[in-house]
């Protein structure tokens, strides 16, 4: 390897860091076959291993790079837009393949996350990306994880081929509305993005559920599904707009994950952008709301009901905020209440609820048991009853209950 390669790697990993979807998702189990004398790598069946953490607290699981940061588009939030003065570089297909294999053999990574600026045409770009994935799978029998960022207006044939080699495909919507896209990403069409997502969805479900007449499955297609990313706080969209579009994407495009990325200042920024970073708390609250929607049976209306200007409460997490607005259903008896009600108690996660349900079959939970389970007693106090504890009646009626439960949010600056 030459040092020219180090320079390229510097530029093209730097350019990739603003994409939040770094995790390697679950895409089933996979190993090199018994008689495969060449194959390398495995998927363990769970989410990918975090092989390191950077000082921004993010998990390093994949080699996340751009194939090139040359780009013919001019999206204002993007460090690689045509009008930006950043240094440019371009990997060859072989360089990306070698880097991936060399990193993998040393146990640095779970696989490759490949994105790219658009060079020449969308098809030209997409074709090079597919060649990288194909070489990893066919020349090296690579069994690790591959995530390809799909170019929305590349030809459907190329997207089909991409799904053959990749575990996950993604297309970034970036902004929740066409109006915002017009301002910030003039070349991007929301309709086109949605169409491409719909095509991916059909292929993914087709592979999963349909069998052909002979009982065989159609060719492999991105078993890890698709994901997307939205940039938060660069445009004026409120949380309702953002979450509404997430719900739509989860329901109609069957996305596995929507990532939220608080806009953070980039070098050589465009004037259209705010200069200040969006508060990280907002990103955090959106993820919490997203979790409530997907794993806690909350409806979007319930999360948004009573919020100010359709923005989530910054002081309390969305579940606590909901509980404070709906005090009449509390206190909830942890020894008797049904699962869906336990899931509504602030301070009880889905895993804790499962634990409680299992313990309950054998014994009655007491206050001391909760302490032993290391649950957040202060937060639970007003909302629950157990065998030897009931909250004092006045607690739930207190006007300043919200303030009492407010935690000064620790967002670190040093």
């Amino acid at each position: 390897m030459t040092d020219k390669l180090a320079t390229k790697l510097e530029i093209l990993s730097d350019a990739a860091k603003y994409d939040a979807s770094c995790a390697s998702g679950t895409a089933g189990k996979r190993t090199a076959g018994k008689n495969d004398k060449k194959g390398i790598g495995s998927l363990t069946g769970g989410t990918g291993i975090c092989h390191s953490f950077t000082p921004d607290g993010r998990c390093v699981s994949l080699l996340k790079i751009l194939m090139t940061n040359y780009c013919i588009y001019d999206c204002h939030y993007c460090i690689n837009r045509i009008s930006s003065n950043v240094k440019r570089a371009r990997f060859t297909v072989q360089e990306v393949v070698d880097l991936t294999i060399n990193f993998y053999k040393r146990n640095y990574i779970e696989g490759l996350f490949l994105s790219s600026g658009i060079i020449h045409t969308p098809d030209y770009t997409m074709e090079s990306m597919v060649r990288i994935a194909k070489s990893l799978r066919q020349d090296h029998h690579f069994k690790g994880y591959i995530h390809l960022k799909t170019i929305p207006n590349a030809s459907p044939e190329l997207q089909t081929e991409a799904g053959l080699y990749a575990d996950r495909l993604s297309i970034n919507v970036e902004m929740p509305t066409q109006k915002s896209l017009n301002t910030y990403a003039p070349e991007k069409e929301l309709g086109e993005i949605h169409n491409a997502m719909g095509r991916l969805k059909n292929k993914i479900t087709e592979h999963k559920y349909d069998k052909t007449y002979s009982g065989r499955r159609p060719p492999r297609f991105a078993p890890g599904g698709q994901s997307t990313q939205m940039i938060i706080g660069a445009d004026a969209s409120d949380d309702k707009t953002i979450l509404t579009s997430s719900v739509d994407l989860y329901n109609h495009k069957k996305l596995r994950r929507v990532y939220y990325s608080a806009f953070s200042p980039i070098p050589d920024a465009s004037q259209v952008l705010p200069l200040k970073p969006a508060p990280l708390v907002r990103e955090h609250r959106l993820y919490q709301a997203d979790w409530l929607l997907r794993f806690y049976d909350f409806k979007l209306d319930e999360i948004l009901q009573g919020t100010k200007d359709n923005m989530l409460d910054m002081d309390h997490d969305p579940k606590l905020a909901w509980a404070l607005r709906n005090r009449d259903i509390f206190p909830i008896d942890l020894n008797r209440a049904e699962k869906h009600l336990l899931l509504r108690v602030p301070g009880l996660g889905a895993q804790t609820v499962r634990k409680i349900l299992s313990i309950r079959r054998h014994t009655n939970l007491s206050w001391e048991d909760l302490a032993k389970m290391r649950l957040p007693l202060n937060k639970l106090k007003p909302f629950i009853t157990v065998s030897n504890y009931r909250p004092p009646l006045y607690l739930l009626d207190k006007n300043n209950l919200g303030d009492m439960l407010k935690k000064p949010e620790q967002i670190e600056l040093f």
């Binding site: 180090a6 390398i40 790598g41 953490f53 000082p55 998990c59 053999k105 299992s358 620790q410 600056l413």
Partner: protein, 278 residues
């Protein structure tokens, strides 16, 4: 009071054998003293070898009993799985704790494991959790370095890793599956595993000297690590909770961390202060 000595590291098999016999003989947990004999200490060697002989005699005597007890006592599979994990913990109390839990499952409460607020179960769960985390971190933070082999055809990789507990055994399958067609050695302070693409050889107390000082690809990994970090959102605490400093010694990229944090603020300030370019 019966004294049972465990000679192996981590001692899972020995414990299982002894526990079966003890259970069959109706030995109450309070009547057993479990002792760990560290077989790697050379000054104990003489007494140790004698004990070992006695030990193996006992073992053959009890062989028939053992078989019978195995047939008559049914233990939930989930319990065996938990014991196998907990017994890889460094805590010398692990043997008596596991036996106590086993005893209680058999004679007290078949569903003991589900009593998550029982003190023994809390302790057992804590051991299992610590080992599970340690083993996971091993599969995550272990780094191979390449050795140039004389014939230049087969690549050989070596890693030195210091797990907190006896996690090597738990991860052998993982490494064997993932790096099946690679020759590799994983060295830990207490044991090494060598894989030559067909079979696995274990070796006690290996020398660290087999671990190469450098690797040609490592500098690219460091380049990547430094550049994938976003200086505009430093979260040192979040990083440390997932990757506490005790792991850093196994990971080459961690030499960069202090520097990255120190320069982060000035870097992101520069981005904000710089006038927009267009």
């Amino acid at each position: 009071m019966k004294t049972i000595k465990i000679f192996q590291i981590p001692g899972t098999e020995e414990w299982r054998r002894e526990a079966r016999i003890a259970l069959h003989n109706n030995l109450h947990p309070n009547d057993i003293l479990w002792l760990v004999e560290d077989s790697t200490q050379s000054d104990l060697f003489d007494t140790l070898s004698i004990n070992k002989q006695e030990h193996s005699q006992n073992q053959s005597c009890n062989h028939r009993q053992e078989k019978r007890s195995h047939a008559s006592i049914a233990i939930p599979k989930s319990a065996i799985e938990l014991f196998n994990m907990a017994l890889c913990h460094k805590d010398p109390q692990r043997f008596s704790l596991c036996y106590r839990v086993l005893w209680r499952i058999v004679f007290e409460d078949r569903y003991l494991l589900q009593r998550k607020t029982d003190n023994d179960i809390i302790t057992l769960t804590a051991l299992v959790k610590a080992v599970r985390r340690d083993a996971y971190k091993m599969s995550a933070y272990l780094r191979f370095r390449k050795i140039d082999s004389p014939d230049n055809e087969t690549e050989r990789f070596v890693a030195w890793y210091e797990p907190e507990h006896y996690s090597l055994e738990l991860k052998l399958d993982f490494f064997k599956t993932r790096f099946k067609n690679m020759q590799w050695s994983i060295l830990t302070p207490y044991r090494a595993a060598h894989w030559d693409m067909t079979s696995m050889v274990l070796q006690d107390t290996p020398s660290r000297a087999q671990y190469p000082k450098e690797d040609e690809v490592e500098k690219y990994w460091l380049t990547y690590y430094a550049n994938i970090f976003n200086p505009a959102r430093p979260k040192k605490k979040a990083m440390l909770s997932s990757m506490p400093k005790k792991y850093w010694k196994n990971m080459p990229e961690t030499v960069l961390i202090e520097d990255l944090i120190r320069t982060a603020e000035s870097k992101s300030r520069k981005m904000i202060d710089n006038a927009a370019s267009d």
